[in-house]
């Protein structure tokens, strides 16, 4: 290869272009898929990888999926060796070959330029069904992978441009919903969009210029990440967090333990000492847990960093097999993505004392539900809906900034959207009653936590099942540096006969009659810093807007407000905030 002169403008153009191609791929998915999980909530990731499977760029609507794509790409390259050809399309979801979750099914498409493999386009989305014992995939009763899903190790569904009809039919014969077939076509379409974009770059600049500038981009990004890591004092830091209830044994608890070593611009996350895997489906896979680690750490560094191979080079992750974060074959693992909040808490508890101003108080942990059944309005057509709008609680406050209201789980960080209300009612037989901020849900603090939400809807449909999965109904999001805790998650059903049922955090409720009212509270995030140092004007604004009560303003923030005039009672506030008020309590 001749010496290529590096054009720094081209490096940044290349980075932005790769990013914009992954965005176009993401738009293609959003605009053409059928399942609301994909087209409304954007529970998918699109990405480009080089010929060796190294990450070039990604659009990470749901980051918990994001950092499994490059490892799977590398696995596929090794698996097929020289049997990769122009026009091939490969499916993959297998959690025992680097997949993160059974329902997250990926498409990989090799990109050839002038006869040589130059890159890969990939798309991975949460499919509405993937076979297994329970429609929708979440099966709290599962103890091994086959009860959860159809396993798809790397398989070519299109070879040299020709559809392998037998293989295609074998796969979709094992999946309940026909929209999954259509949504997998959309994933293939997204990869074609990616391929077209990459070929345009190569036609314009040629392979050599592309490769040289790509390497330069990786190196520059690596340097940027090392600089960021160097701003954390060298040392060894430990943190732990508890995951509650394995779906089998009420009251069970599992501890995640992380040891973080920062040294010379590199960071090592070692999970040795984490509790063994559970008997049920509350188990992580290596890539779901490693994704959780990376996405949590990325929130503590410069958010404008390009996402490519260079970014992950200085990050090392060790997760012993057989633990709750890296369960051994053939464990059930569908829940694994949702151990991210617990994993994030362990990391934040380790680094919070070291870099307190860069770590948020804790986030509301996910507690989610999905409902399945058939829709009599549409001739009994089946439906699956993950109830994203109900599960999005608040993030933790951070030095200088309140938590984000109704952002949802840390593994998505605001990348997964609520269904639009009107589209939700078109798509499911349910009718919404209420979806609003939850007063007093946010942990008080100098910077308060983000608000949680309360949601209510009347269920419709036939043969309806409700599946819940998550946590945060035992331990709330903790406050930091003197801030208070957020509130707990709840999901309850009120049957037409007036009876209430409170769901556990890993539940499967069958035969839910039409007319049942579904009620959910997603908790607020933890507060950061002493609430008595919060600007009284901000407390007044929250009280006026009905998201903090007069009583909480007084008790937690030490701010007295006159609701007749909507003003702060300065003298009373001063008294409340001085020592004498404390003794009165």
């Amino acid at each position: 290869m001749s010496e290529i002169r590096i054009d720094k403008v081209l490096v940044s153009i290349l980075q932005r272009r790769l990013k914009s191609i992954t965005e176009e791929m993401s738009i293609a998915m959003t605009r053409t898929t059928r399942s609301p999980i994909l087209c409304e909530a954007k529970d998918f990731v699109t990405g480009l990888y080089d010929a060796k499977g190294n990450m070039l760029e990604q659009t990470e609507n749901l980051p918990i999926l994001a950092f499994s794509l490059a490892p799977v790409c590398k696995y596929i390259i090794e698996y097929f060796g020289d049997d990769i050809h122009p026009g091939d399309v490969i499916f993959h979801n297998d959690v025992f070959s680097m997949g993160n979750q059974n329902n997250d099914v990926a498409v990989y498409k090799p990109i050839f330029f002038e006869g040589e493999l130059v890159a890969w386009a990939a798309c991975k989305g949460h499919q509405a069904d993937i076979g297994g014992a329970v429609q929708g995939g979440y099966n709290p009763q599962a103890t091994e992978v086959w009860q959860e899903a159809l396993r798809i190790p790397p398989v070519k569904v299109i070879e040299r441009g020709k559809l392998r009809k037998d293989v295609w039919d074998l796969i979709f014969a094992n999946i309940r919903l026909d929209i999954v077939e259509e949504d997998m076509r959309a994933e293939i379409g997204s990869c074609v969009v990616g391929e077209r974009g990459v070929l345009k770059i190569l036609e314009r600049y040629g392979r050599e210029v592309f490769e040289a500038h790509k390497e330069h981009l990786f190196d520059a990004t690596e340097q940027m990440m090392r600089q960021e890591i160097r701003t954390i004092p060298d040392g060894v830091y430990r943190g732990e967090a508890t995951a509650y209830y394995d779906g089998k044994n009420p009251g069970s608890e599992y501890t995640i333990r992380v040891t973080i070593t920062v040294k010379d611009g590199e960071i090592h996350f070692d999970y040795t000492g984490t509790d063994p895997q559970t008997p049920g489906f509350v188990n992580g896979t290596f890539t779901s847990s490693a994704s959780a680690t990376i996405l949590t750490f990325l929130q503590m560094v410069n958010p404008n960093m390009p996402h490519n191979e260079g970014m992950v080079r200085p990050i090392q992750i060790t997760i012993p097999g057989g633990t709750i974060l890296n369960a051994a074959y053939p464990a059930a693992t569908t829940y694994g993505n949702h151990l991210c909040p617990n994993n994030a808490d362990a990391i934040m508890r380790a680094l919070g004392p070291v870099i307190p101003e860069r770590v948020t108080a804790e986030w509301n942990e996910l507690l989610c539900s999905l409902s399945t059944g058939s829709d009599p309005r549409k001739g009994g057509e089946p439906f699956v809906d993950i109830f994203f709008m109900g599960m999005k609680g608040g993030s933790g406050g951070i030095y200088g900034c309140d938590g984000y209201d109704h952002i949802g789980m840390i593994d998505a960080s605001g990348g997964v959207l609520d269904q639009d209300y009107e589209m939700f009612e078109q798509q499911t037989p349910h009718r919404l009653v209420r979806h609003e901020y939850w007063c007093d849900s946010a942990g008080a603090g100098r910077w308060r936590g983000g608000l949680g939400v309360e949601t209510e809807f009347v269920m419709g449909g036939e043969n309806v099942k409700v599946v819940t999965f998550g946590d945060g109904d035992v331990e709330p999001a903790r406050g930091a540096v003197g801030g208070k805790d957020g509130t707990l998650n709840v999901i309850k059903l009120r049957y037409p006969d007036g009876r209430w049922y409170t769901c556990t955090s890993k539940d499967l409720v069958e035969n839910v009659p039409a007319g049942t009212v579904y009620f959910q509270q997603a908790g607020g995030g933890g507060g950061w810093g002493d609430p008595r140092e919060r600007d009284p004007a901000k407390v007044l604004r929250d009280v006026r807007n009905g998201v903090v009560s007069l009583e909480k303003a007084r008790e937690d923030y030490g701010v007295a407000i006159d609701p007749a005039t909507w003003t702060v009672d300065e003298a009373e506030t001063e008294r409340l905030r001085s020592g004498e008020a404390e003794t009165r309590d």
Binding site: R16, Q426, L432
Partner: protein, 701 residues
């Protein structure tokens, strides 16, 4: 004599282009008056009259058309100074507006706050009512809850009311009844009803657009009424048109009826103007960038069409009305230079605006701005700024830069000014890159049309940063958007939802919808003085495969639309789906369904003529004024640079950089890497020296 005037109100200057019937044009520029922008507008008109020895009334008697672009709605939204607005919404859903579906645009940034809503929660009040997904009433409208909410609004002094109910797109009856009650109870309030603003499905998009429409309604109404009163007082009897965000123009009545259509209209004249100038050289593509006093706006034209979107936003708040796709950043002549906590030099986004203005204006501004740096670097002549009407105080500029930038960095004043110039150029280049690259284009493939009073001083460095080889600086660059406004057509967009499978749809109903919207457009255009034979109708169908969630917008000619042949529609849809999304289901036979029918009626206006000049030869020396010392950014030194009078340059004149070309309202700095040739329209064409042969062929033929 029949004049036309384009008027563009910017944050710092109000720009005017006056054209005569023969195509002769005159540029005017006055300082904006942000508290009441119509003051500057009238000042400019008075100045034009004076120059012609006429009274203002006599002059306006000879004006046939005034096209007016205003940013009052934009500024009200950006600065949160819109009307105190109340929202009436279905009980249980008052927070949708603020939640924005729970998105955080910067996922990894924990200090990225949510966007502030235009209606605070305590003014978002619930109404008991409900219709279901097909429009059937589940709970009747509780008029008492509407009246209770309105009593609260009255106590709070609410000036504008937005109404958005669940599923109203399927049955607007409750919204209409609530609107009647608002008219009774709060007759003075501006009213914005979701099914009138955007009668389409998707609650968040509708509530956001409707609330913004209410928020800016009183501001726009007050402004336009005051302007109309003033023009009427001066006996103006011609046509007044308002620039809209979709790149077209509309009557003031249409604008006041749907104020949100002007929210991003400020830069909307730019692409039309850019296209007119590049077409003279045979291009159908261009990137236009307009650097005014406060902001830098970039737009892209591809194959003769400006990029547009129906998923626009302002300050992260959704507006789902059609608009040109424009990237705006806070960078302009008034951008203030400052040193951040980490000791890094930053420029903007704070701007000194017109008042107090840059330090060198001597109007009380003490902070150093981009204009101050340009002056210190020798790009501006202190005695010839705005043709000498605003004498610049070089010492004041030096003092401001010294105190706020140079001393903090340990630099000389000149080094600090050069740093300010570099930093702002890099930010502007990033905005140009963003619009090109985010839409899949390489900026180097486009000529850069540079406009705005400050733009041409910075264009070479922006182009060098991105490797763009050609820059066009039109003679009218300082009032670029005003020029574009006079070249814009009248344009009205309509939408109707008609969800139906193409294999089952009712052709007559479809035709009736198309004709209904076209008739409405023709009626509106007639009221705006456009006869039917000058109306063009564009039809766009939002189509999708059954059970998809989102649609592809497919353009269909009018005759084909009214033929209503479903096969023909599907035949246009499949390949477009494939081109956009990488696959189609034509062979599989998946049915296609229609969701929305969109009709745009365009009333063609008379455009001012562009008068080409004869070729005058290479020699620019008749335009030579003198030399002055100016800073060469790549060489990091001052040198003697020749200065030319732009108005004396003629078609075919050539100048090798470095050079400065002065016009009354614009100074163009040509760096040593570029040369200039003047095209038949008087446009300075700057090109990288190594591209000379190709450019001269294009410009000189």
């Amino acid at each position: 004599m029949s004049y036309k005037i384009g008027i563009d109100v910017g944050g710092t200057f109000t720009d005017f282009l006056l054209t005569e019937e023969d195509g002769t044009s005159h540029i005017y520029k006055v300082l904006s008056t942000p508290k009441d922008p119509s003051i500057a507008t009238i000042q400019g008109i008075e100045e034009m009259a004076r120059d012609r020895g006429l009274t203002t009334e006599e002059f306006l008697g000879q004006v046939s058309t005034i096209v007016h672009g205003t940013t009052v709605t934009t500024n009200a939204t950006l600065t949160y100074t819109g009307a105190k607005t109340g929202l009436l919404t279905t009980k249980g859903f008052r927070d949708a507006l603020e939640m924005r579906r729970g998105i955080r645009e910067e996922q990894y940034n924990n200090r990225f706050p949510n966007a502030r809503p235009v209606v605070e929660r305590y003014l978002r009040l619930p109404v008991a009512e409900r219709v279901d997904y097909k429009g059937d009433v589940v709970e009747p409208l509780d008029e008492g809850s509407v009246r209770a909410a309105l009593a609260e609004f009255r106590n709070e002094g609410v000036e504008a009311v937005a109404i958005c109910f669940m599923n109203a797109f399927a049955n607007p009856a409750h919204e209409r009844r609530a609107a009647e009650i608002v008219r009774d109870e709060l007759p003075g309030a501006f009213l914005s009803v979701s099914t009138e603003v955007v009668p389409a499905i998707r609650f968040y998009d509708r509530v956001s657009t409707t609330a913004l429409n209410a928020y800016v309604g009183p501001v726009l109404t007050r402004y336009l009424q005051s302007l109309i009163r003033k023009l009427e007082g001066l006996r103006y009897q011609g046509i007044l048109l308002i620039m809209a965000s979709n790149g077209g123009v509309i009557s003031p009545e249409a604008a006041m009826d749907k104020p949100a259509t002007t929210l991003l209209s400020g830069p909307a004249g730019g692409p039309v103007a850019g296209l007119a100038f590049v077409r003279g050289q045979g291009y159908e593509d261009c990137i236009t960038c307009d650097m005014g006093g406060t902001s830098f706006d970039v737009a892209l034209v591809k194959d003769g069409k400006p990029l547009t979107t129906t998923e626009g936003s302002i300050n992260r708040l959704r507006i789902s009305l059609p608009m040109l796709n424009v990237v705006t950043i806070g960078a302009g002549g008034g951008s203030i230079g400052w040193i951040d906590e980490g000791g890094l030099l930053r420029m903007g986004p704070q701007s000194a605006g017109a008042d107090p203005g840059p330090a060198c204006y001597g109007r009380g501004g003490e902070l150093p701005t981009c204009t101050d740096a340009d002056l210190v670097l020798g790009y501006l002549d202190p005695a010839f700024f705005a043709g000498g009407r605003i004498p610049l105080d070089l010492e004041a500029a030096r003092r401001a830069i010294d105190e706020h930038v140079a001393r903090k960095l340990g630099y000389t004043v000149e080094e600090a000014a050069a740093g300010m110039y570099d930093v702002i150029n890099v930010s502007m280049a990033a905005a140009v890159r963003e619009i090109a690259v985010n839409n899949g284009y390489d900026p180097r493939d486009f000529p850069l049309v540079t406009a705005g009073g400050a733009g041409p001083n910075h264009a070479c460095m922006i182009a060098l940063e991105l490797g763009i080889p050609v820059i066009l600086v039109p003679r009218e660059s300082s009032i670029f958007c005003a020029a574009g406004m006079l070249r814009s057509d009248l344009k009205h967009d309509f939408v109707r939802s008609y969800p139906a499978r193409l294999d089952e749809f009712d052709r007559d109903r479809f035709r009736a919808l198309c004709r209904e919207m076209r008739d409405e457009g023709v009626r509106q255009l007639a009221a705006e003085g456009i006869p039917e034979d000058r109306v063009e109708t564009h039809v766009v169908l939002d189509l999708r495969y059954v059970r998809q969630y989102h649609e592809v917008s497919v353009e269909v000619p009018w005759d084909e639309a009214v033929a209503a042949d479903p096969e023909a529609f599907a035949a246009r849809f499949h390949p477009q789906h494939d081109a956009l999304y990488g696959y189609n289901l034509a062979e599989k036979g998946t049915p296609v369904e229609l969701i929305n029918v969109r009709v745009t009626t365009v009333g063609r206006t008379d455009k001012p003529r562009l008068a080409p000049e004869p070729l005058a030869g290479e020699d620019p020396s008749p335009a030579f004024k003198r030399s002055r010392s100016a800073y060469l950014p790549r060489e990091k030194r001052f040198a003697d640079v020749p200065v030319y009078d732009g108005m004396k340059l003629r078609h075919g004149n050539r100048i090798a950089g470095p050079a400065i070309i002065e016009q009354v309202n614009t100074t163009t700095f040509v760096t040593p890497e570029f040369s200039v040739v003047v095209d038949p329209l008087g446009t300075y064409t700057l090109y990288l020296k190594e591209r000379e042969d190709e450019i001269l062929r294009r410009v000189l033929g």
